[in-house]
C-alpha cells in the first residue's frame, strides 16, 4: 500500500519539481504576511497559470504556498497585531506582547519552527491515513459515490457553523453552476442561452478567481491599512541555530498542537483558526503559569502556529480520498487538481499514484523548507514587505487575475464571467454566505449528477437502488447525523445556558 509512496519520491527531487516547492514556500510567506491576502486567494490566482505546467510543478507550488502562507500570517500578527491570515489570530495573543518587549525576532523564530513541526506532522498524517482510506473508497459504486458527494456537501454546510440557510443557498448555487453546459448523457444544452462559450460548462478556475481573489482585492482598495511602522532592524533577531535550544521545552506543546491540528484538519469545515484557538487554549490550560499567557509567552505562539500548520496537509485527507475538502484552501486545491485532469476521489490513487504521492512528499518538503527559508533568510526581510503600498498591490493582483483567466481559453468572455462571479462573491462574503460550499457544489454537483443517473440506470429507474446496500445506508446515516448533530448541539448548549441563568 505504501510502496507507491517510495516510488513517487525520485520524481519529487527533479529540479523543476523541487524548485516549485521552494518558490511556493517563498511566495506563500509573502502572501501570508500581507494582511488581507490569504493562501486561498493566492492559490486561486495561481491555478490558471499552472495550465501549461507539469502536474507536480503545479502541485508543488500549491503545497509550498499553503505551508508558507500559514507561517507568513504570523509576521504581521507578531509585529502589528494584525493577523495576516484568519488562522493567525491566536498568534497575536502572545506574539504581539513579545514584539513589544523587543522579542519580536524570537517570536517569529518560534512561529517558523512550530509551523514547520506542525506541517511535518500533518504531511506524515496525510501519507499514513490517505492510502488505506482510498483503498476502502475504491469499493464504492455509483450509488455510494452519489451519497459521498451529498455527505460532503452536507458536512461543509452544516459543520462550517453560521447560518445553515445561507450555507444551503451557497451549495445550491454551486451545484446549479455545475449543470450549466451540455448534458453529460444526452448532450442537450442546459442554460447556455446560445453562448458557445458555455457549452463545455463553467471552468472551475473562473469561479475560483472570481469568488476568492476579487473580494479581497476590493477590500484592499476599500480600506488601505497603514503598515509603514515596521522596521526589520528592531526585531532583535539572532541566528536560528542559537534560538533553537531555547525552544526545547515546547515539545509537549508541539505534540499536542500537531494532534489537534491534524484532527481539526480532517474534520470538514473546521479550519486552521479553530485548530489554533483549540491548541492555544489547551496549552494554556496545561501550563504551570497560565497567568503569563497573553503577556508574551512564547509557548502561546508555538501552540497556535503548530496547530494552524498541522491543519494543512490533513485537510487534504478527505479531499484526496473522498473528494470532500476540509477547508476553503483544500476546496481550491481540488480545483487545481481538476485543472490537471486529476479527479479527486478514490480513483486518483489508482490512476495517478506518482502525482498524488509526489504531492504528499511536496507537503513534507514544503514544511521542512519553511525553517530554512522562513527562519534564516526571511524573518527580518519579510517584515519589510508590510511596507508595500496596498493600492499598488491591489492593482497588480487585478492584472494577474485578468492574465490568469484570459489564458484559460484565450477569450475575454471568461474574464467578464469571472468579474460577475467576483461581484456575487463580494456580496456573499459581506452578507456572510459561506464560499466553500459554492466551490464544493461546483466540483461535486456534476460528479453527483453523473453517479445518480448511472445508479438509476443500473436500477432501471428505481430510486430504491440508492438505499440498497449497507455502505449507502451508512453514508445516509452519516449525512443525517451531520445535519442534525449541530442542531442538537446548539439546543443542548442553549438549554445549559438557560439552566445556568435560572440557577
Amino acid at each position: 500500500m505504501y510502496s507507491d509512496l517510495l516510488h513517487a519520491l525520485p520524481e519529487v527531487f527533479a529540479l523543476t519539481n523541487f524548485l516549485a516547492v521552494i518558490i511556493g514556500v517563498l511566495a506563500g510567506i509573502v502572501v501570508g504576511a500581507m494582511p488581507g491576502l490569504s493562501a486561498t486567494m493566492a492559490i486561486s490566482v495561481l491555478v490558471p497559470f499552472t495550465f501549461g505546467l507539469e502536474p507536480l510543478v503545479a502541485l508543488g507550488l500549491m503545497a509550498g504556498i499553503y505551508n508558507g502562507a500559514m507561517y507568513g500570517g504570523a509576521i504581521p500578527a507578531v509585529l502589528l497585531r494584525i493577523p495576516g491570515t484568519p488562522a493567525a489570530v491566536a498568534t497575536t495573543f502572545d506574539g504581539y506582547p513579545m514584539a513589544q518587549k523587543g522579542q519580536g525576532g524570537f517570536a517569529l523564530q518560534v512561529a517558523v519552527v512550530s509551523s514547520s513541526i506542525g506541517g511535518i506532522a500533518s504531511a506524515f498524517a496525510l501519507m499514513l491515513l490517505a492510502p488505506p482510506l482510498s483503498k476502502v473508497t475504491l469499493l464504492f459504486g455509483p450509488a455510494e459515490v452519489f451519497w459521498v458527494a451529498v455527505f460532503g456537501l452536507a458536512s461543509i454546510i452544516f459543520l462550517l457553523g453560521g447560518n445553515p440557510v445561507k450555507g444551503l443557498i451557497s451549495a445550491c448555487f454551486g451545484v446549479f453552476v455545475s449543470v450549466i453546459g451540455s448534458d453529460p448523457i444526452y448532450g442537450n444544452d442546459r442554460f447556455t442561452f446560445g453562448q458557445l462559450e458555455l457549452l463545455d460548462g463553467i471552468n472551475i478556475v473562473i469561479l475560483l478567481v472570481g469568488l476568492y481573489a476579487l473580494p479581497p482585492v476590493i477590500d484592499l482598495l476599500e480600506t488601505p491599512l497603514k503598515t509603514d511602522s515596521v522596521e526589520g532592524e528592531k526585531l532583535g533577531t539572532e541566528p536560528i541555530w542559537k534560538a533553537l535550544p531555547k525552544m526545547k521545552g515546547y515539545w509537549k506543546t508541539w505534540l499536542r498542537g500537531s494532534f489537534i491540528g491534524i484532527w481539526i484538519g480532517i474534520l470538514p469545515g473546521a479550519g486552521g483558526s479553530m485548530a489554533a484557538f483549540m491548541s492555544y487554549n489547551e496549552a494554556r490550560r496545561s501550563s504551570k503559569k497560565p497567568e503569563d499567557w497573553g503577556q508574551g509567552e512564547p509557548e502561546g505562539v508555538a501552540a497556535a502556529e503548530t496547530a494552524n500548520n498541522a491543519d494543512t496537509a490533513s485537510a487534504l485527507i478527505p479531499a484526496l480520498t473522498l473528494g470532500i475538502p476540509g477547508t476553503a484552501v483544500a476546496a481550491v486545491m481540488l480545483g487545481g487538481l481538476l485543472v490537471h485532469g486529476l479527479q479527486p476521489g478514490p480513483m486518483l490513487f489508482r490512476d495517478n499514484p506518482d502525482v498524488v504521492f509526489g504531492f504528499m512528499w511536496q507537503f513534507l518538503f514544503g514544511a521542512i523548507l519553511l525553517v530554512l527559508l522562513g527562519g534564516s533568510l526571511a524573518t527580518n526581510s519579510f517584515a519589510r514587505l508590510l511596507n508595500l503600498p496596498r493600492p499598488l498591490l491591489g492593482s497588480i493582483i487585478i492584472v494577474l487575475m485578468l492574465i490568469g483567466v484570459y489564458s484559460i481559453h484565450g477569450r475575454m468572455f471568461d474574464v467578464y464571467m469571472m468579474l460577475g462571479f467576483g461581484a456575487v462573491g463580494w456580496v456573499m462574503d459581506k452578507l456572510k454566505f459561506p464560499l466553500p460550499p459554492v466551490v464544493l457544489g461546483l466540483i461535486l454537483g456534476a460528479f453527483a449528477e453523473e453517479n445518480l443517473r448511472l445508479a438509476l440506470r443500473i436500477g432501471r429507474g428505481d430510486w430504491a437502488v440508492l438505499f440498497k446496500n449497507t455502505t449507502s445506508l451508512v453514508l445516509v446515516a452519516l449525512t443525517v447525523a451531520v445535519v442534525i448533530g449541530p442542531m442538537l448541539k446548539r439546543r443542548f448548549i442553549d438549554s445549559r445556558k438557560k439552566e445556568g441563568e435560572e440557577a
Binding site: 444551503l168 445550491c172 446549479f176 448534458d183 482585492v217 476590493i218 488601505p224 497588480i396
Partner: protein
C-alpha cells in the same frame, strides 16, 4: 448599501433574498424544455434556492420587526463601487484597446485613485509590472494577450 436603512424592505439581506428568488424563478422557466432526467438536478437546485431565499427573507423581516440592525455590508460604498467600476473598465479597455496599453494606464490609475500618490513610485512600479509580464508571459511562455478589438476592425 450602508448601515441604517429606515425602510425594512431595503435591508441588504432582504434585497439579496428577493434577487435570488427572482433569478432562480427566471432560470426555472427553461427547465420545462429539458428532458425530465436532464432537468432533475437543476430544477431541484432552483426550487431549493426559491424556498431557501423565502426562508432568508422571512428571517430577515422578522429581525427587522424585532428592531435588529441589518447586516453591515461596507463602510465606504463609494470606494467599493469605484474599485469595481475601475476593474470592469480595465477589462473592457483590455478587450477594446489591448492588454498592454490598458495595463500601462490601469496600474498607476488604480493605485493613484486609492491612495498611493508617489509619481516616481507609480512610474517604477508600472514599468516593473508591465516589463515582468512581457518577459515572463509574452517572451518566456508565448502567452497571447488581447490585442484590442478596435485595432482589429
Amino acid at each position: 448599501m450602508s448601515e441604517g436603512h429606515k425602510n425594512r424592505f431595503l435591508r441588504p439581506e432582504t434585497l439579496s433574498a428577493v434577487g435570488i428568488l427572482v433569478v432562480a424563478a427566471g432560470f426555472l422557466i427553461p427547465t420545462t424544455d429539458l428532458r425530465s432526467i436532464s432537468a432533475l438536478l437543476p430544477a431541484a437546485m432552483l426550487i431549493g434556492l426559491i424556498i431557501l431565499s423565502l426562508l432568508l427573507l422571512l428571517s430577515d423581516q422578522r429581525k427587522a420587526a424585532a428592531g435588529e440592525a441589518p447586516e453591515k455590508v461596507t463602510n465606504s460604498p463609494k470606494r467599493v463601487i469605484g474599485a469595481f467600476c475601475l476593474i470592469v473598465a480595465y477589462a473592457v479597455a483590455s478587450d477594446l484597446i489591448g492588454f498592454y496599453i490598458s495595463t500601462v494606464i490601469a496600474v498607476p490609475t488604480v493605485a493613484y485613485v486609492f491612495g498611493f500618490r508617489n509619481p516616481l513610485g507609480l512610474a517604477i512600479a508600472t514599468a516593473i509590472v508591465v516589463g515582468s509580464i512581457w518577459l515572463i508571459f509574452d517572451f518566456g511562455m508565448s502567452q497571447d494577450f488581447p490585442t484590442g478589438r478596435l485595432w482589429q476592425n
